[in-house]
Symmetry: C2
Subunit: 418 residues, 2 copies
């Protein structure tokens, strides 16, 4: 099956709205094994929209629209689709009841043109909108092709897709699709790519990588008659990936929404450890990433942002002489920050980050991008020296990720187990 996403809205062409709908739908479709070759954005314009429908329907089996279902004259999505299908819009009682109910619920006055939101071609399947006033629909276009209308706001579109449109397409295909996610830290995209080159095929099961700053995530997907069978197909693939990549693989999970911070919090929590941080160039990013994870309060006691030299001494107890002798961006200061934070907050582990994020301030000896990550436990302290590159934000973000990874690594280390 081939699908094509067609987003309708002048606000997208003006750049007033970020098109998160296209990403959401692409991800879901690709996880379902449904191919997509084009995505298009057009404004609220009759003629251009009609051309876009005709082009998309010539290339795809299912055209998924977002936006343009409201009651104003700008909202052309349904009207033009009906014209392309050669059919009339009629009032659907089920959709009408939903629209009336929604207006009652929002205490809003309903005008006659609000009823146009309940109009679709007669053979349409209505998709109820539990978060807004505009219903969606699955509209037969002839020749076995369909248009799926979804509302524009993501908080309306996403549940409508997940609860109604996606199950409809799943039933239509009659197959089970299962994905697992392999998370990698500490190996570049190119290196991962090279090692898995022959596995990254578009077959079944399939493996596809995606990268964010410093991280690579691999999605392994299999399609079978049952979820159990699909899962069985994934096992040997994932075993091979782990074998080829070694210990840069830090997690294999069922959910796409993974993060180093969540893995670190879970590992610390399993260990029953409390944690602290002393941050200089990261300025609170490490702590904030941990706090992002619900349940972090069991693990993170607190942290200190020791940005100026004085704060390193006042908050983390780093001796002034040490800063004078070695400089703030140094192995001893990273060590003292981690040990100081751990001792001050009496935690099982503490992590620190000191470094030079730039853009200015670099010297020959300590160029921009020099970073030291300290990790102190009750038994010992180690310091990881890094040489990072790029913008201020990039260097800070990478430093934060290295610190989170160090927390995870220490909490999962075998010889640390009591």
């Amino acid at each position: 099956m081939i699908a094509e996403i067609l987003c309708v809205g002048t606000e997208l062409l003006m750049g007033q709205v970020l098109n998160t709908n296209a990403q959401f739908l692409s991800r879901r479709l690709s996880a379902m094994g449904i191919s997509q070759y084009h995505q298009t954005v057009v404004g609220d314009n009759d003629q251009r929209l009609e051309e876009a429908y005709r082009l998309a329907l010539s290339r795809a089996d299912v055209v998924i629209t977002s936006g343009g279902l409201g009651p104003t004259v700008d909202d052309v999505t349904k009207r033009v689709a009906a014209r392309v299908a050669g059919k009339e819009l009629v009032l659907h009682p089920e959709a009408e009841a939903m629209v009336r109910e929604r207006f009652r619920q929002y205490h809003r006055e309903m005008t006659p043109n609000n009823l146009s939101q309940a109009m679709f071609t007669e053979d349409s399947i209505i998709l109820l909108n539990h978060h807004g006033t505009a219903p969606g629909a699955i509209v037969p276009m002839g020749g076995g092709k369909e248009v799926i209308h979804l509302p524009g706001p993501p908080f309306e579109l996403e549940p409508m897709w997940l609860e109604q449109a996606e199950p409809y397409l799943q039933r239509r295909s009659g197959r089970a699709l299962v994905s697992r996610y392999v998370r990698v830290f500490g190996m570049g995209e190119a290196e991962v790519d090279q090692r898995l080159n022959d596995l990254e095929m578009g077959g079944n099961p399939s493996l596809s990588p995606y990268c964010s700053l410093g991280e690579v995530q691999l999605r392994a997907t299999a399609c079978a008659d049952t979820p159990e069978e699909a899962l069985r197909m994934l096992e040997p693939l994932i075993a091979r990936v782990k074998e080829r990549l070694g210990d840069v693989v830090y997690a294999v999970e069922d959910t796409e929404q993974g993060s180093l911070a969540r893995c670190a919090v879970e590992a610390l929590s399993r260990r029953g450890w409390t944690a602290a941080a002393a941050e200089s160039l990261t300025g609170g990013m490490i702590a904030s990433a941990l706090v992002d994870v619900p349940g972090a309060s069991r693990v993170l006691k607190g942290a200190m942002v020791t940005y100026q030299e004085e704060a390193k001494t006042l908050l983390a107890g780093v001796p002034e002489e040490m800063i004078r002798d070695h400089g703030v961006v140094s192995e001893p200061v990273a060590r003292a920050m981690a040990e100081g934070a751990r001792a001050r907050l009496d935690t099982d582990i503490a992590v620190s980050a000191t470094g030079l994020a730039g853009p200015d301030g670099g010297t020959e000896e300590t160029p921009v991008g020099t970073v030291f990550i300290g990790v102190a436990t009750r038994e010992k302290t180690r310091v990881i020296p890094l040489r990072l590159a790029g913008s201020r934000m990039r260097i800070r973000t990478l430093a934060m990720k290295h610190a989170l990874h160090a927390l995870w690594e220490e909490a999962t280390r075998e010889d640390n187990h009591e």
Copy 2:
């Protein structure tokens, strides 16, 4: 002039990457008064890309591509454009020097196929990439039409656009376009919209709003023969906006890349004030947002993330009895956190945030979304009580923005001036 954005990359079709480039370019083009009627995404596929080029060039004067400039076989953008133009790719010495320099700088080995990054049609104008290894180019396509190739990563694309491609298009149009940005905090989008309803016209000068969480930014743009004339046209419009919105307007600036954090750092810096923070639910976000601003080290001494109760006492000196009597999410604790942070780090001002980000833990008295922001100066302390709504991330982010705004407000307050 009509422009069309063509994003190239299978990772976009798979949903692995959010298409922020399309929004960035749309905004800039729309600010320049350049019309756009379509945006397209295609994968790394020769034939479909060729069709997309031909279609886009039939509708637009300038086709702007993002992505696909790297050295792998997947990177088809330049090669297919050259084929459509009926020309060969040749090595550009200027581009070659840049690629070699970048590899030297990143301490990376250069392979022969990396040189393909320096190849463009002979009549192309090279756009240097100061943040990555792939140069861009402006490629004449015949009939006065052009393709502008930009790299995929936003931190490479955005500066290349702003520093080289946009000035080129400006010169081509021969008109001066000037924008100013009015930043609003503390008034919802709908309210702003209603108050400016009659001003938000697509004329010249024009006014267009866009919103991020808790903030509204209004872009006022005028087009004239000279920048001075354009600026003169903007003055009465901006005066009317300020009059209608009142003191929720916290800045009027020439640059789009504004932020509450930058305004706060600049205001503190002008005042010669040092600052500190004590963060609970924000967990380091306030400090990190300040550290994001280059030059923050003159202002921010440090901060404490007092996540668990114990840390509030240990780091910020909040009395245990106070926490027991009033609860951690309370006006007195916010006050004590701000005062404790200010005193401990001996700064001119300190801000604090304590609250309940959820999703769990709410009570009837203190529901999820209850937040207190404390602001302590050497003279006095005030506490701002907030009732926020939404996800954990939304509540935390809004709390952070309120804290930054409070810093800005305090630093710009007339009666604080010595």
